[in-house]
């Protein structure tokens, strides 16, 4: 049976809002492929940072609506038009999610700390001059600054604060963003990770990374920080060890 996701013809639009495109489809395809795990996961609180047209958060709500009824969905965007369009897209599909106009998760960080079970991020990942980062119109959906990492590097610590003990983060990245380095960086925060979908389009090579808190990664991260403190040298840490852990505890 084909799973229910958002229908393109019901997705609202606005000249200042990024329409669903290859990156949005790749993220939703990754969620579809992981649907059985998501249902077992039984998320109470799901969040999307940078919801744009609302295509992704609506798709997640539809994917889980039968098996996980009553989950709470909250979506944020820095672009006011995107928040309106997301609300329209949700309504057109009969979904209820809460939409907040804010920068990343500002205003929600305190009370939602360690409470988010599933987080979705399709960040502005396109390498651009740094000066283009921080606009509030449609450019906010793509302008990523140097290596496309300016906003990603601000989002990851926020995500770490918000994710629950069982929290999962799905994030879209490009090869230019250095996804392997992102995984290494998150391992230092105690996360295992796996690239769950890779897709090359005419314009870009997309990677969808899934992150989750992992006991081994956390122990290792603590050990590393101890070593850094005591020896003030390079930590005894293999940057590629997460691949093995990723496979072993595959979610």
């Amino acid at each position: 049976m084909r799973s229910n996701i958002a229908k393109i013809k019901l997705v609202s639009s606005h000249p200042e809002v990024y329409d669903p495109c290859d990156d949005s489809f790749a993220l939703v395809d990754a969620l579809l492929a992981d649907r059985a795990n998501l249902i077992d996961h039984r998320p109470s609180i799901c969040m999307e940072i940078g919801c744009g047209s609302g295509y992704v958060i609506t798709s997640l709500a539809l994917l889980l609506e039968k098996e996980c009824p009553g989950s709470y969905y909250v979506a944020t965007d820095v672009n006011p038009h995107a928040t309106t369009v997301t609300r329209e897209t949700l309504e057109a599909h009969g979904c209820s999610a809460e939409v907040v106009h804010t920068d990343i998760a500002s205003g929600l960080e305190k009370r939602l700390a360690r409470n988010v079970d599933v987080m979705l991020v399709n960040p502005p990942y396109v390498p651009t001059p740094d000066a283009e980062v921080g606009c509030r119109g449609i450019a906010s959906s793509w302008a990523g600054g140097e290596d496309g990492r300016r906003v990603i590097d601000r989002i990851l610590p926020v995500a770490d604060g918000l994710l629950s003990d069982k929290g999962w983060l799905y994030m879209v990245t490009l090869t230019a963003n250095n996804p392997v380095e992102l995984c290494v960086q998150m391992r230092k925060r105690g996360y295992a990770s796996r690239i769950v979908l890779q897709r090359s389009t005419e314009e870009e090579s997309l990677h969808i990374i899934k992150f989750w808190r992992d006991v081994d990664a956390l122990l290792e991260a603590n050990e590393c920080s101890e070593i850094e403190k005591t020896e003030n040298g390079l930590p005894h840490f293999s940057p590629f060890s997460f691949w093995n852990y990723g496979n072993r505890t595959a979610n």
């Binding site: 009553g70 909250v74 609300r87 209820s96 205003g107 009370r111």
Partner: protein, 122 residues
């Protein structure tokens, strides 16, 4: 905006210590019926700041929530119905959320709260 979301928002202005709960100014509220999910409510009970929910409900004109609660009340259908209604069926459609420490207003339009800060507030 549901009161669950109100319960999860706090003032994010630089220098504000707690910033919670945001006071609600109502221009327009709506009620939207949704199916009750007892597991979800039991799960949320521990995460919700009860006093803030009671006050927010009163502001929207719903006064049926008890002032004091304990987890055993979750066994009562009547309590669950009231909790469900306050948390998920009352929406602030137009109005504002007011920072309890600075008085700064965060507008709510079409049910969407605007928590964006001005440059000098970050």
């Amino acid at each position: 905006m549901r009161l669950l979301t109100h319960n999860m928002l706090s003032s994010n202005i630089k220098g504000v210590t707690s910033g919670f709960p945001l006071r609600i100014e109502v221009e327009k509220m709506v009620e939207k019926e949704v199916e009750l999910n007892a597991d979800f409510l039991r799960n949320m009970f521990a995460k919700v700041e009860w006093k803030a929910l009671v006050e927010a409900s009163k502001t929207l004109g719903y006064t049926e929530l008890p002032d004091n609660v304990e987890p055993s009340m979750l066994d009562s259908d009547e309590f669950l119905n009231r909790f469900h209604h306050a948390l998920l069926e009352l929406h602030l459609e137009e109005g504002a959320l007011v920072c309890p420490e600075t008085g700064r207003k965060f507008p709510v339009n079409k049910g969407i709260p605007n928590m964006l800060l001005h440059e000098d507030e970050v």
